[in-house]
Subunit: 424 residues, 2 copies
């Protein structure tokens, strides 16, 4: 008998009939002899509707109250799901994040999980019940206030609870069949990846693949918890995210490249004519950090000897652009840079693959493919298992397709039909 943790996103519980279908899947898992713990997101657009209500009442609602408001979303879906399961003749008990022992810090809106003490969940399982837990939410250790975990929060709840309960697997359900070698909307020949390592999955998540959130994969890696990403609209195997995907009974040799990810949500800012003195770059990035902005890639040109000045370019989430530009304007007097350039018509294309460590020439092949496709490279960043380039946004599709083909990722047959977000 295994302990299976399942997480269903908002699209899987969008309405009453979706909830009933999910209930049947849960009961089938239970009937197959497993203990089942289910983490559920808010129904469909509930969160957006609640945010809309908040906006009607206050332009800048306090984080504590916004969390109190938003957590009602999972309360509704989890209670309905428990009812639907009861209707099929099985005992289900729903628990809020607080009741499930999800203990967090006090950072409302993006709290971090500090500890998970799932005694009530364990008790429910021991009594033969199916436990339904609200995703995305917890309770602050210090203030006992309700908190939310931010983007991808329900996935993180699922993995954290699965780790605390020492579950055998954490299944993440959405409307997508698994992790693909590229977005099938761009590359129709993209293939579903049967197994992928935590490291590669983290790079994929960080580079724009939206199926799993980075935090949840980090958490799973720390506890060596297998994640199975699959669709709630079918029964096919999805993608397994594990520590070492190529030694556990699979015959395949490790591929050089696991997949091609892309991201259109970033913008580029260039600080032009920064005096080439020690500490100037540091104060630019300190200013941005103080403004709470996460920088992605950074490029600094060699200083032009004649002028003693240099240009610094970096990418950041487009949504943070105006905050960043305002913060940089404020220090123009202090730093004495010449001007700011802003470009939100960019895209990032990333090759991810643990196999590239042992294969020289990956960069050359990648860049040649982009050149053949007529795509110009604006910025480059690399890690052990990833190469990312910034290109103009109109070139993203061509770049992804060219890279996919160059590394022999194209399937013989088109396999995927849907590819989209995974809710929260």
């Amino acid at each position: 008998m295994a302990l299976v943790v399942q997480k269903y996103g908002g699209s899987s519980v969008a309405d009453a009939s979706c909830i009933k279908r999910v209930a049947q899947r849960i009961v089938a898992t239970k009937k197959a002899g497993n203990d089942v713990v289910v983490i559920v997101s808010a129904m469909g657009d509930t969160t957006d509707e609640l945010l809309d209500l908040a906006e009607q009442v206050s332009p800048l609602p306090p984080g504590r109250e916004l969390d109190m408001l938003l957590t009602s979303g999972e309360r509704i879906s989890m209670a309905l799901l428990a009812m639907a399961i009861a209707n099929l003749g099985h005992e289900a008990r729903s628990f809020t994040g607080s009741q499930a022992g999800v203990i967090t810090d006090s950072t409302h809106g993006k709290a971090r999980i500090i500890d998970v003490t799932p005694s009530r969940i364990r008790e429910a399982i021991d009594q033969g019940h199916i436990a339904i837990v609200a995703g995305f939410q917890g309770v602050s250790q210090d203030t006992k206030d309700i908190t939310t975990l931010g983007r991808g929060g329900s996935d993180t709840t699922a993995v954290a609870l699965a780790a605390a309960l020492e579950a055998d697997v954490c299944e993440i359900y959405s409307d997508v069949d698994g992790i693909f070698t590229a977005d099938p909307r761009i590359v129709p020949a993209a293939r579903k990846i049967p197994r992928i390592s935590y490291d590669e999955m983290m790079e994929m998540a960080a580079c724009g693949a939206k199926i799993l959130h980075l935090r949840c994969v980090e958490y799973a890696r720390r506890f060596d918890l297998p994640i199975h990403v699959r669709s709630s609209f079918g029964t096919r195997e999805g993608t397994w995210v594990v520590s070492d995907p190529y030694t556990e009974g699979t015959e395949m040799e490790q591929p050089i490249i696991s997949g091609v990810a892309h991201d259109r949500s970033e913008a580029k800012i260039t600080v032009v004519g920064v005096p080439d003195k020690v500490g100037e770059a540091a104060s630019i990035f300190k200013t941005l950090a103080d403004a709470g902005i996460n920088i992605d890639m950074i490029v600094q040109n060699v200083s032009a000897a004649a002028t003693g000045r240099t240009d610094i370019s970096f990418t950041l989430p487009t949504a943070d652009s105006s905050t960043a530009l305002t913060a940089l304007k404020r220090i123009q007097g202090e730093i004495a840079y010449e001007s700011l350039l802003f470009d939100d018509q960019i895209g990032k294309v990333s090759l991810i693959g643990a196999g590239m460590r042992s294969h020289p020439g990956v960069t050359a092949t990648f860049f040649a493919a982009l050149a053949d496709a007529g795509v110009n490279i604006e910025m480059i960043s690399t890690s052990e298992i990833r190469i990312s380039v910034i290109v103009e946004q109109d070139g993203v599709d061509a770049a992804v397709a060219a890279a996919h083909r160059a590394f022999d990722l194209d399937a013989d047959q088109v396999e995927a039909v849907v590819y989209g977000g995974s809710g929260r």
Copy 2:
């Protein structure tokens, strides 16, 4: 500095603009130098919408999960209200029933409050914050599960918290100006009652006046807590419900009759031809009690000597009729009664007034007024401060108007404009 507890019903927080108006009223109370604790119901039709969702998922949802679902309603309204107050520059903190220390038994759907331990509320007040508390909900002492208090639950939360906090007053806001001598829709000359005793208010509530629920008045009487029933759509004084309304600085002599209440929600069942033996009536009412039915009035005719049989009539909530009839059919063999009669076209008209104790002839005046109005009396029931009669439903309006006039309750000018339910 006083401690004021305010309760706002669903119609007072129906949408964003209502919530903002309520926030202004709360802040005004705070600015006037009071500590303020607010109990809030779910917005407008939220509860009905949630019930509708539950019905789509399951015909008979478990009580525990239904309570989990319904309590999300107050969570939404209280968070929004706290945001609206923050927007006006005051600190507000929202608390669930559980966080506010509302401890109940485990009867889901109609839990009774066992204890109130409002340490977090007191802490919030001590810090100068406005505390917003979810009405209608608590947490079970034994199972730690979320419970709801049933009909009139938010009023009960308000009074229970006010008592535990030793508040100076509990203000119950709705869309009605206060308690009236009769329903102004039936008697346009009805007057707002400035002060009324707990006992009279309990009889009024039990006899169909929907402004305050019986449980909440019982609770207030036990703790001698003044209730002020008023409208959230104006600033006029409403009705004070207190222990002794006629000695505290009012010049008025105690009126004979405080008001005329009516109720169209009951039906009458007659068990015809019950053998006139010891214990037959007892087993009829035991059967009904076992079926969970609350009986209101009972009349038994004197046994007809010739037949040795008698008829027993009683009234009950119309909604419980089919359950009651089914239960009675089941024992027909055992009791050997002849038949059942059912009539849901009845109404109850009640005179309430602590003054009738010292005024003989009230019954005579009441019955004469009904006779003059051409209304036939079917059943009669009395208490120290109340006389109720069952009449045919079409005669209710005429009976109420005639009684109101006979006891000089008509105002010189029409005062009331709205009269309706008070939410939950």
